[in-house]
């Protein structure tokens, strides 16, 4: 295939791989990046919210030419039951700032642009090529990869595994386990196209302002999961995801769940009359801190979703991927500049630098959350949303019932559904997991 030897091979041209390739290429390293898709992004799925800060650290002037959809001025959280939702909306004109903080994007377009940045910096990007295996030497050190191209073995001092959530290569090479059904969520998503004026009118926007809605409740039918509706320029991304273990247990089908979500009286008017142009499915790492595998070894590091670096609670993944890719690239460059070999001891620098970043700090903060939400999924995703929505309907509806009586009914409904100890227990556990 390619005869020459590289300083680094990056597997995958998603968020993490592009960040790693760009970081190393910018510092003059000889980088080969391999992507199985027709072009970078053609295999990738996301909501998608892009966090500016983490990209700015890689491409300071990205706003000039990156394909961005809308900058977010509003975030809605909806707690849903079958017919209603209770919402928390945060909107601020402060977000109409010169350098907005968050944007919606379309991954197929964004990844192509992002990869272009790495290529401009000198990285060689080889698409339509699947890496089949890692090559190890007699001592077990990773020294390259085997691709599905003719004579497809290539060597490098270090391999950056940015292969995404499935992490096939890492599993095959026994560097880490295959993801477990209760550590990954399956999300399905559709792209609904509408004229931009319609989107702006329905979501209360002007110009390039954007809104995202995160929704939880009975829409996931008792499974641990969430739905989302994100406004792009001329399309709306609509999706829902739940833990694979829960799908397995309940026998719910993902497309049925998505259809029901789309038909919910709070969602349907937002996408009415749209033309659907794509249906996608993808896994999201949800195991949090406790699911993070070994991050480095002799001749390799793992970054992004492949390392389970994903904050499911905050719906942040791409920024952890970008940051871990960047940090891995910086650590590798440091080792190389010292002319040290890419051994496990030397690459431990990556882990050390990652531990000091928001990536590990955030994941550590919520380390108990996945367990809690999974074990208590019936309460958090069925019982409470129903109770809260009922309570609010009772509160809002004016029907001549004295307010004290209304309050009693509400309290009684909570207690009979969960008992006082249950309620206090849940509140306590939730607060502790959040802390």
């Amino acid at each position: 295939m390619i005869e020459e030897r590289f300083d680094a091979i990056v597997v995958g041209a998603g968020m993490a791989g592009n960040a790693a390739a760009l970081t190393m290429a910018k510092r003059g390293m000889k980088v080969l990046q391999i992507e199985r898709g027709e072009y970078p992004g053609s295999k990738n799925v996301q909501g998608a919210i892009l966090y500016a800060d983490m990209l700015e650290k890689l491409v300071p002037n990205f706003r000039e030419d990156a394909p961005l959809e809308r900058h977010l001025v509003e975030q809605r959280f909806w707690m849903m039951d079958e017919r209603s939702h209770t919402g928390l909306h945060y909107r601020s004109d402060d977000f109409n700032e010169e350098k907005p903080n968050r944007y919606t994007i379309i991954r197929a377009q964004f990844d192509k642009w992002f990869s272009g940045q790495a290529q401009e910096a000198g990285a060689i990007v080889l698409c339509e090529t699947t890496v089949k295996e890692l090559v190890k030497d007699a001592y077990g050190k990773v020294i390259g990869v085997i691709t599905d191209r003719e004579g497809g073995e290539v060597h490098a001092d270090v391999v950056v595994l940015a292969e995404g959530v499935n992490g096939l290569l890492g599993t095959k090479a026994e560097l880490r386990d295959r993801p477990a059904p209760d550590n990954v969520a399956l999300a399905v998503k559709e792209m609904h196209f509408l004229p931009r004026e319609t989107i702006e009118a329905r979501f209360n926007l002007k110009g390039d302002e954007g809104v995202v809605i995160e929704a939880a409740g009975t829409i996931s039918r008792g499974m641990t999961g969430m739905g989302f509706v994100y406004a792009n320029k001329e399309s709306v991304s609509v999706g829902i995801g739940c833990l694979v273990a829960d799908f397995q247990k309940t026998g719910e089908t993902p497309y049925d769940l998505l259809e029901r979500f789309k038909k919910h009286p709070s969602i349907a008017p937002l996408i009415e009359g749209s033309e659907v142009k794509e249906y996608a499915g993808h896994l999201i790492p949800e195991g949090g801190y406790k699911a993070i595998p070994q991050l480095y070894g002799d001749g390799w590091v793992v970054v992004g979703d492949a390392a389970q670096l994903n904050n499911a609670l905050h719906r942040e993944g791409s920024n952890l991927a970008m940051t871990s890719g960047r940090i891995a690239g910086e650590a590798i460059f440091q080792v190389k500049s010292r002319k040290d070999p890419m051994t496990k001891e030397n690459l431990a620098l990556y882990k050390k630098m990652l531990d000091d970043s928001f990536v590990i700090k955030d994941l550590k903060k919520y380390k108990d959350m996945p367990d809690l939400l999974h074990i208590q999924s019936q309460n958090f995703f069925l019982t409470y949303p129903q109770l809260i929505n009922k309570a609010l309907q009772n509160f809002v509806r004016v029907d001549g019932t004295p307010k004290v009586d209304k309050e009693k009914v509400t309290i009684k409904s909570f207690v009979s559904a969960r008992s006082w100890t249950g309620l206090f227990g849940d509140a306590f556990r939730f607060a502790r997991a959040w802390r």
């Binding site: 799925v45 399956l186 089908t253 794509e278 249906y279």
Partner: protein, 98 residues
Amino acid sequence: MTVEAPIRVEDKLFQNRYLVDVGNAHIKVKPHTKPSAELLALIKVCPAHCYELNTNGQVEVTPDGCVECGTCRVIAEGNGDIEWNYPRGGYGVLFKFG
């Protein structure tokens, strides 16, 4: 409640772009006489409805519409029910938006 017609996922997949690697299925089901609980679960959980029960009561896979999510691998590779790989480079689903 009204009974709704089942959703046809095939209609959804029709919107997608694929380059099918004819004759090179990237996912294979191991021969079996009676399907395991894991294999049976795939009939419902696969978001592209690639798994179905054949007339002999065995689970079959037709991965033409596969969106390459990896869900079936997470459920059924561990016990040896299926063999899972990505399609050859360039083949498979080609997301226009993702």
